[in-house]
């Protein structure tokens, strides 16, 4: 990799595929690579192995940052990375460009997921989109008799539910505050919540520090949030659609909205390690996991929208996730790694990079 802050494509993508190496090692979010060992009913790895002869070993990670770290070990051929990790992986030279022509199933993927700033650099694709989702606003319907429409319930009006507000525990959550400020303090001139200059960033941090007073707990694993909303320990905060689905199943009094300010969200990308030992099997996996059935299974199990309409054929809950709803999707600011060179294209200022986001996040939590 280079030491500058600019991601550059230093390698050429593969031009043709060879025979499978017989194995592939995958790093992914929990629930992305299920081989039936946890639940025999949940298994899309075995068909892949039978089909391609590539034996899968997998490791899961808990946060994007962990993923970046693990990729540095060079032990993995494939990684499923969210937008807040992809650029770092590209910049660090951990992943290689992907020749999408070699992936037949790439075709069917929603266009609004292709060639975005979090999965491509200079028009060169670095991976295959997987699933996506928004960080929605969840609320307790007993407490909020009327559905809130704005994020103000967790920011300016958070004190009304002091101690029962929750938020996602990651530096990337600072972007949520930026999204809110974009609508409520236009004078800051925020164009993209991932491209914040010093002043904009400080405003977001201040907002979060104020919010901190009312926070009951931050969540990062969703069991924690499900429990908290079910028991009433949390009544309002960011969430994922899948959490609401689980809660709805158990009859908890909760609902979600996509507030008027829009929301942050994620679109995950399957990428290939730059020094992948099993590059052919890696491409096989990228193609397989983009295939409608496998994609449907994996995204359904994790609880997010699939990457293609064809996948929705295999799912009954596409509605709930607003899959393929371009309008809905356009309101989402997908996670992107903040870097010094502002991703919104500004060149007159330097943006605050992720390392500082991390530091600020620790300070916000205190």
């Amino acid at each position: 990799g280079t030491t500058s802050g600019t991601p550059t494509a230093t390698e050429e993508a593969l031009t043709e595929l060879g025979d499978g190496e017989g194995q592939v090692s995958i790093l992914a979010w929990p629930g992305y690579v299920e081989d039936g060992t946890n639940d025999p009913a949940v298994d899309w790895v075995t068909p892949f192995e039978e089909e391609t002869g590539c034996q899968v070993t997998s490791k899961t990670y808990g946060t994007s940052d962990e993923a970046v770290n693990l990729m540095k070990t060079g032990e993995y051929d494939v990684v499923a990375a969210s937008g807040d990790a992809t650029l770092r992986l590209i910049a660090g030279g951990e992943v290689q460009p992907v020749n999408t022509d070699l992936i037949p199933n790439y075709e069917g993927i929603y266009d609004f997921l292709k060639e975005k700033e979090w999965n491509s650099v200079d028009g060169q694709s670095y991976g295959v989109p997987h699933g996506y989702g928004a960080n929605l606003l969840m609320y307790n319907t007993d407490v909020f008799t009327e559905a809130p429409t704005s994020w103000d319930v967790v920011f300016d009006k958070a004190s009304e539910n002091a101690g029962k507000v929750t938020a996602y525990d990651s530096p990337i959550y600072i972007a949520d505050a930026a999204v809110y400020l974009m609508a409520h303090q236009p004078e800051l001139g925020i164009e993209n919540p991932y491209a914040l200059d010093e002043e904009q960033f400080q405003a977001a941090v201040d907002l979060l520090k104020e919010q901190r007073q009312s926070i009951g707990e931050y969540w990062s694993d969703y069991l924690k949030e499900i429990q908290a909303f079910e028991s009433g320990d949390s009544v309002v905060g960011t969430t994922w659609q899948v959490i609401q689905n689980v809660l709805a199943d158990s009859g908890a009094p909760t609902d979600v909205v996509l507030p008027e300010e829009g929301a942050t969200g994620w679109s995950d990308t399957w990428m290939v390690a730059s020094d992948a030992a099993n590059v052919n099997c890696a491409y096989e996996w990228l193609d397989y996991i983009a295939s409608p059935e496998a994609n449907a299974q994996a995204t359904a199990y994790f609880g997010e929208a699939p990457s293609s309409d064809a996948a929705c054929e295999f799912r009954e809950d596409c509605e709930a996730y607003h899959a393929g709803d371009e309008d809905y999707a356009s309101q989402i600011w997908y996670w992107t790694t903040p870097i010094a060179e502002c991703v919104d294209g500004r060149t007159d200022v330097e943006c605050v990079d992720y390392a500082q986001w991390t530091e600020a996040w620790s300070e916000i939590k205190g």
Binding site: G1, T2, T3, S4, G5, T63, D65, E66, V68, N69, K72, R88, A91, G92, G93, G163, S170, P171, R212, I215, G216, E217, Y218, S220, L223, K224, Q227, A228, S231, G232, D233, I339, A340, D353, Y354, A355, Q356, T358, E359, W361, S362, E363, K365, G366
Partner: protein
């Protein structure tokens, strides 16, 4: 093999043969007359292991604290800098979190000792041998229910509509909810067996005759405990506190589960190494608990507590 390897001047062994001069025997003779060799052989393997694996790793970590990391690529820059140390020493965040962590660790330790003493005393000095055996099993068993499971169980217990609220509500009391209090409660719970066991072992070693001597001289139960039992069990108690204190000092998982929005030193280290990928800063933060533990060990070293872990 020679059977007449014995010195010729020795009288015959009257029917008892001398042991055969095998290689093992010769080695044995050599070893038993060369104590230094024996010591060297004993020490080499464990020292090799501990020095190579542990000391080197720890030293490397400490060295890393003086390096820095390239913020975008995450590569470590091996240039000496005191930045991280200065950040850690002067940053108000680190001071607050350090104080909070020490506070939590101290409270956990005090609670654990307070809980462990009566039960350990009961086990060691009051219970019948049979009851004692059962109690030891009862204390050891929870160790096997995974740490995480127990932490989540406490999350459930401490919840707004958890079992604790359910029990306390009739008395007009409420669960503390998630936060530092919950962290302290949960950590105390998790480390309690590690504190009970050394204290129990220590109390068991206090001879009954000393307790009798105290009673004989007019010491009632409380003076006996204060003047005789506690001082004699002190090394064991300190050994127990090393467990609860050190384990609390480094914890980041429990506080994550029941700590609400609070964070401790462990979280900062974890965030920096796991999330921010800033090992140098993490190493610098790690210096804080290392310094605290070393200080504590130095303090308690002469009490003989280290023999009681």
């Amino acid at each position: 093999m020679t059977t007449n390897a014995t010195a010729p001047t020795s009288p015959p062994g009257r029917g008892i043969p001398r042991p055969k001069a095998t290689t093992a025997r010769r080695t044995s003779v050599f070893l038993s007359t060369h104590p230094r060799t024996r010591l060297a052989l004993l020490l080499s393997a464990p020292l090799f292991w501990l020095a190579l694996v542990y000391v080197v790793a720890l030293a490397a970590l400490l060295v890393t604290a003086f390096w820095s990391v390239d913020s975008f690529t995450g590569q470590i820059t091996t240039e000496w800098t005191l930045d991280n140390i200065i950040t850690v020493l002067t940053g108000s965040l680190y001071q607050t979190v350090t104080l909070r962590t020490i506070g939590v660790a101290l409270l956990v330790t005090i609670i654990d000792v307070a809980l462990a003493l009566p039960i350990a005393f009961y086990m060691a000095k009051v219970a019948s041998p049979r009851a004692r055996r059962l109690l030891v099993i009862a204390v050891l068993m929870p160790l096997w229910a995974s740490y995480l499971v127990k932490a989540y169980a406490w999350r459930s217990v401490l919840s707004q509509d958890g079992i604790l609220e359910w029990v306390l509500a009739p008395f007009g009391l409420h669960t503390p909810g998630y936060g530092l209090t919950a962290t302290i409660i949960t950590l105390s719970y998790l480390w309690l067996p590690y504190v009970i066991l050394p204290i129990y072992a220590g109390l068991e070693r206090v001879p009954d005759s000393l307790l009798e001597a105290s009673a004989d001289l007019g010491g009632k139960s409380w003076p006996t405990i204060r003047h005789v039992v506690l001082p004699l069990a002190a090394p064991a108690i300190i050994a127990g506190t090393i467990f609860s204190f050190s384990l609390s000092l480094g914890d980041y998982i429990t506080v994550n589960i029941v700590g609400g929005a609070s964070q401790m030193l462990g979280n900062l280290v974890y965030t920096n190494v796991g999330a921010a990928n800033n090992l140098p800063l993490a190493a610098a933060i790690a210096l804080i608990p290392i310094a605290i533990i070393f200080g504590y060990l130095a303090l308690v070293r002469r009490t003989g507590a280290l023999d009681n872990l």
